[in-house]
């Protein structure tokens, strides 16, 4: 039984090899800087950075936007199993997910009206 999974394994390994080789080559073949100059450790701030970046708080609106993205992005993950099993589930699956999408639409209209989307 395991045999027919072999091509998938080989394909997975090859897919894994590409990022691994990128990482390895850029690490192994890179030229080490000759002298650790102080300026290299500084953050790049268009050429006028004085010291390491001091701790700065981010406003909450970034966090809000991130949360909204997660809510609406994970929704797509749930669509994958539906797509794979669409024939098996037939109309029942379609209706089921219609309700799922509908609920998310209500959420979308709510946050749109609340103004969470515009900055």
């Amino acid at each position: 039984m395991l045999g027919d999974w072999l091509p998938f394994l080989i394909y997975g390994l090859m897919a894994l090899a590409i990022p691994a080789s990128l990482l390895f080559m850029s690490f192994a073949l890179a030229q080490r800087p000759a002298r650790r100059t102080r300026a290299r450790a500084l953050p790049f701030e268009s050429g006028v950075s004085r010291g390491p970046m001091k701790e700065q708080r981010f406003t909450v609106s970034f966090y809000l936007t991130a949360m909204l993205f997660i809510v609406f992005d994970i929704e797509i993950v749930f669509l994958y199993p539906l797509a794979v099993q669409l024939h098996a589930l037939g109309w029942f699956g379609f209706a089921e997910f219609g309700v799922f999408i509908l609920i998310l639409l209500v959420a979308y209209v709510y946050i749109w009206r609340k103004g969470a989307l515009d900055w």
Binding site: P33, A39, S46, G47
Partner: protein, 192 residues
């Protein structure tokens, strides 16, 4: 007879001057016959070849030469043929610093800091007369030549240099690197 860059498939020198003999870089870096015949190459040469084929310049536009530097990206001169059309804005991803324009004393410190923050191996082109030698401004505010603060690989004359002149400078850097000539900061002490 020492191998010629043409055998490496490098036509740059020949584009401009087909009948020219082996360039000075080749005489210095002779390659023995066997290795060339078998097409073998050391890992280091392969890495150098990869580095020259995607040497990304840093957008360091100062003055009039910056306008001509912009036009080498345009369709007519198209530096993309040498894999260089991605003008990186941060020195962390840039290999080549084209100082295009006159450097005031107020700009010297940021220039030096950006040069330090660039990744190795890095090259510097002093584009135009003002970057190479202060040009026609010999006064209190202009740095008389960028090589006072950063080691420079190639000086491109004219004011402003034609895009072809700048590309000639870039090709010279590619050729020098392929022939094994180390960048300027290794040959010369890093200018204090």
């Amino acid at each position: 007879m020492a191998a010629r860059l043409r055998d490496y498939g490098l036509q740059s020198e020949r584009l401009l001057w087909p009948t020219k003999g082996p360039s000075r870089f080749e005489e210095e870096m002779g390659v023995d016959e066997l290795e060339r015949a078998l097409g073998l190459t050391t890992l280091e040469k392969a890495v150098r070849w990869a580095q020259t084929k995607s040497m990304w310049p840093d957008t360091f536009g100062l003055a009039c030469c910056a306008i001509e530097m912009m036009s080498i990206v345009s369709a007519r001169y198209d530096i993309a043929r040498f894999g260089m059309e991605a003008f990186r804005s941060s020195p962390r991803q840039a290999d080549l610093l084209i100082v295009s324009g006159r450097v005031a004393h107020k700009m010297a410190a940021p220039l030096r800091q950006i040069y330090d923050q660039m990744v190795e191996p890095k090259w510097v082109i002093a584009m135009g007369a003002c970057a190479s030698s202060g040009g026609m401004f010999n006064n209190y505010t202009i740095l008389q030549g960028v090589d006072r603060i950063v080691p420079v690989d190639i000086y491109v004359p004219f004011c402003p240099p034609r895009p072809e002149a700048l590309m000639e400078g870039i090709l010279r850097i590619h050729e020098a690197h392929l022939a094994g000539i180390p960048p300027a900061y290794e040959r010369r002490s890093v200018a204090t």
